[in-house]
Structures are given as C-alpha cells and as structure tokens.
Amino acid sequence: MDDRLRHLPEISDHVLSSLKADEALKHKILLSAASGREKRKISFRTVIALCCLSAVLVVLCVFAIGSKPEGDIQVISAGSRHSSPPIRLEEMIDEAAELAAP
C-alpha cells in the first residue's frame, strides 16, 4: 500500500488535473481582502468613537456625583427626630458676630 500511496502526487495530477486555482479565484480573493480591510477600518473607528463617548459619560457622572445638592441636616436627639433647615456658613458667621458685639 505504501508503494501505491507514493504515487499519490502523480495520481492526483491525473485525476484532478483540471482542478486549478485560476485567475478568477485570485481576483475574488483580492476583492474580498480589500472589502474586509475596509470593514475592519470602519469597525475600528466605531470602537474608538464608543470609547470616547464612554469616557465623556464617566467624566459627566463623576462631576454629577461631586456637586451634590444641599440637603437637610438630620438632627437626631433622644426620643425625637426632626429635620432642621440647612445651616449656611454666612448665617453662622453673622450669629457669631452678633454674639461677639458688645
């Protein structure tokens, strides 16, 4: 069997002699490769654009979290719980100034 198989190249050349990679197939390959490259470029740009958009969204979220709106100060005392209006620094300074005045 080994001897017979040694002739496989010649046998294949005979039985498949008209099966050849021709110019038409080559042309198809070149066209497909060119269109594939174009597709890849578009998808790469899309990825970059998505990355930029995500970065912008992250920055916006960080800013939004950083600038918290003023909230009520929760004052909890024994037996009761109530909210007091926000205390401003300016008001505290004014009160301190009044107390300090003779």
Partner: protein, 171 residues
C-alpha cells in the same frame, strides 16, 4: 517534496502574494478538495486561506510558506468537516467527483480508486496521508504542522494504510 523551492532556514519569506498564489494555490485547492469532496467549498477554503494571509501578513519563514498555507487550509477544512450541518447535508456521502483533463479520461482505474479511497478516509487519517504522500512532508514536519506527537502521526499513517489496503482489496 514537502520542502518548498527556496528553502532557507529562519529567513523571512520575500515571496509576494502573486508568487505565493502562483506556486501554492492549486495545492491548497486540491488538498481542500480531497478533504471536503466539494469543489465549491474547497474554493471557499482556498479563498479564506489567502484572504487571511493578505489581511494578517504573517512573517512566513522562507521555504515554509506552503506549510503555513496548508496548515491554515486543513484547520479550516476540519472546522467545516466538524460542522454538523455540513456532515449531514453535504458530506454525509461525499461524492468525490474527479476532474481529469480530456486526455486523461480512461486512465488506470486503480489510480482513480485510490484517490477516491483517500478522500473517504476519516478526517484524522486523511490530513496525515495528504500531507505525507501527496505533499511530501516528513513525519516531524507533519507533527509540527498539526500540533500532535510524531508517534501519533506515524500511528495514523499506519492505520490509514491498513484501512486503504482493506478497502481497495474489497473492491
């Protein structure tokens, strides 16, 4: 025969796409055809292999260009072979159609029988037989190309010969 014409160890290949195609595309096509038994799919595999080459531009070692192309082709063939749809619908009973030139029709029937028997071998035997007997690669080169042990290649070759011998005697 397995070695390619300009065999220089370690040197990066300088062959252009046109040269690679002219030298090896028919081999890739015929090996794929042996594997799949379907001309259209063999052309698709050849197309995939060369598109992959054009898009990735791998640094091929001089003298080993064909082994890279055949390795990619066989991987692709194996993927197609494994796909259950292809097995059931197309390759369930692959009809190995022959494409002899007009002046070759009527040539020795046993040659045709051998080619048909090779095409009917199970996938794991077919790739070692095609690489060894058709493309002329040695056992160690085949082991490297397929990522299997040399002993496995030898054992598959031996078992494939046994199967072929049995099948051809039965005809």
């Amino acid at each position: 025969m397995g070695r390619d014409p300009s065999d220089q160890e370690g040197k990066v290949s300088e062959l252009s796409f046109d040269e690679l195609y002219a030298l090896y595309a028919t081999d890739v096509l015929r090996v794929s055809y042996y594997y799949l038994g379907d001309r259209q799919r063999a052309e698709d595999v050849t197309q995939d292999v060369f598109i992959r080459y054009l898009q990735n531009r791998p640094a091929l070692v001089s003298g080993r260009e064909k082994s890279w192309l055949l390795k990619v082709a066989l991987n692709r063939c194996r993927d197609l072979w494994r796909s259950s749809w292809l097995k059931k619908v197309v390759l369930g009973h692959p009809a190995f159609e022959l494409f002899p030139a007009d002046d070759e029709i009527g040539r020795a029937a046993d040659s045709i029988a051998l080619a048909e028997s090779v095409s009917r071998l199970p996938a794991e035997f077919k790739d070692v037989v095609l690489l060894h007997y058709y493309q002329g690669y040695g056992v160690s080169e085949i082991a490297e190309m397929l990522g299997i042990a040399e002993g496995t290649v030898s054992s598959r070759l031996s078992r494939a010969r046994g199967r072929l011998s049995k099948e051809l005697k039965g005809e």
